[in-house]
Symmetry: C2
Subunit: 353 residues, 2 copies
């Protein structure tokens, strides 16, 4: 466990850049004083922000560049234009060179994934990376992956998602053996895609010490908190996340509109303000901010682009915990110890040895 | 347009059966007096319920059977055991024989789809049926399909979903040319599965008179009401629906818990009760009850199993409207006029004529 956690921040990422990134870093530093920051971006925009946070200034070093990856760039464009020069690339580069333990950006997701994958490469045994998110549930929080890094994939890809998600959940929730469910459209064994059924059989057969496979979970089981880790390929994971976010926003807006409609309900709102605030806190997307890139030889966290400083601080917190509690080694251990078997264990072995 | 709408009800379907189905029919009859009912199920359980609703009794005929499909039966079991004898089969059989215009059941979804497909067969030009639902949005309601009848499928399957969904939306929302979006994980053309991109190109190339194709829609676009019809294959459609339902339930429960926590918030609840009721009404799953089976040579509606009489009445209403406004002919017309081109129009034609 390293004594200091060294965090590289893309200070030009997101809708706002430095005015959100720097105050966010200051908030997170307040919670974890044993942090050092590498602030990558335009010095002229970083310094005025930094002057308002002397403690952060003392714990930070600026890496200057004025090249930013735009939110509109396609991944290939970003790689072509921003490689070796952009704030996003240089933050990842600091991880690659061992100058930082984690890189965090609120920039263009596709570009960040493309650069991270290109520069850091995937872990041994992992073909395709994943994005994992933290989902608020009735029981607390769950890790959900893949949220859109990789579309499709065979049973072994799904199994590797389960292993990586379990490693992340064990760090986040301090559970040595988190429960893992596979997202499916029915809980009966006969339903769903072939690769999900096969992944379920592999997980059951392997009976890994680092995760407790509980079977299939339907879409409404995520919010119920039926498992610490919910695994699905990137297309359906992204659809589930966005559909849930959309519904939460829709209900909040409907409630707000209804509360404005009469003096009675306005009065009610005044009395119940604390309850509404508590609901907002529990469903606050800022608080579950921080998409982990999993499967790379380095820790990279993606923050929402349209987040405020408090939300960005949560993304930093996630990165901090992943480093402090050694996520990469945990994943590697599981992949090597348990995952050494990933390719050898088959649901129906046919090879003659 | 038929003068009477003849509705066959599976009076043994759902968690409760006749005690929900019969009062539900009575409610719907109150809204549409020009309805006739065929009540299929155990006469001994139907008659006592019917005695409480003399108007319904006058508009109904009982088809007796004491064979029910269980909620736990797999589709193949249900077909084997319940064919020609079960209330579910006989309700579908009434449609097949032309004795009813629509069959409605709150029973086992997989069994209902298997029986309907087996007995009614699919429409010409349709290989695989779909389930369409009505989704409450910020703008009103949208039709979303497929909610889980068919997993996967090629671009032409997705296009046929768009055509059938548009026909349903034109009936439900009285719009001659409803807007149609394809569910995807990014709005840029480069993202998503190959078959979704190809379906988008076909829809754009065909420029059908019965639907207005607007492009890709992400998961949170459903609740925003970005299109009258949202199209996706059955796996992701089911995941989206369940994730959204789960989130709505989760928020409602959180809010209820928070409102109980202090006397201030309890008082607030009393004042704002009307607002909460309005929210509940808008997000009430009972009100969007009624999954349409599309692509069959007959109209079949699936009600939720755990619904109350009011909710079952909504499912009947949906069936009623589909018959009254001639959904089947609309779909057939679109498939023949427009869809005659479904197989001939290709995004990149290569045939030499």
């Amino acid at each position: 466990m390293p004594s200091k956690v060294r965090i590289a921040l893309d200070a030009m990422g997101g809708d706002v850049g430095a005015p959100v990134v720097i105050p966010g870093a200051a908030i997170s530093l307040g919670r974890h004083p044993e942090t050092e920051f590498l602030l990558v971006g335009d010095r002229a925009r970083i310094e005025p922000e930094l002057d308002r946070h002397p403690k952060l200034k003392a714990a930070s070093r600026i890496v200057h560049t004025d090249v930013a990856v735009s939110m509109e760039d396609k991944p290939s464009q970003a790689l072509r234009r921003g490689r070796k020069t952009s704030s996003m690339w240089l933050a990842i580069d600091a991880v690659k060179k061992g100058e930082a333990d984690v890189a965090i950006s609120a920039g263009n997701t596709g570009a960040l994934m493309a650069m991270a994958r290109f520069h850091l490469r995937t872990l041994p045994g992992i073909d395709r990376p994943a994005i994992a998110g933290i989902w608020p549930t009735m029981r607390g929080e769950s890790v959900v992956l893949d949220l859109g890094a990789t579309i499709g994939g065979d049973a072994h890809h799904v199994v590797s998602l389960a292993v990586m998600g379990a490693a992340m959940a064990s760090v986040l929730f301090s559970k040595p053996r988190p429960t893992v469910g596979l997202l499916n459209i029915g809980t009966e064994e006969i339903k769903g895609h072939e690769e999900i059924r096969e992944a379920g059989e592999i997980l059951r057969a392997m009976n890994l010490p680092g995760l407790d496979y509980i079977g299939f979970v339907e879409g409404d089981g995520i919010g119920k908190g039926l498992a610490d880790v919910i695994v699905t390929e990137g297309f359906s994971g992204n659809i589930a996340l966005k559909a849930a976010e959309g519904t939460a926003r829709q209900m909040a807006e409907l409630l707000r509109n209804e509360m404005q409609r009469s003096w009675m309900s306005k009065l009610g709102y005044l009395f119940a303000r604390g309850a509404f605030q508590a609901l907002r806190n529990k469903m606050d997307p800022n608080k579950s901010n921080g998409g982990m890139f999993l499967g790379l030889r380095g820790v990279v966290v993606k923050s929402h682009g349209g987040i405020n400083a408090e939300g960005f601080a949560y993304a930093i917190d996630v990165g901090y915990e992943m480093v402090k509690f050694d996520l990469l080694n945990k994943i590697n251990q599981m992949l090597n110890r348990d995952g050494g078997g990933l390719s050898s264990v088959q649901p129906a072995p046919e090879d003659v040895s």
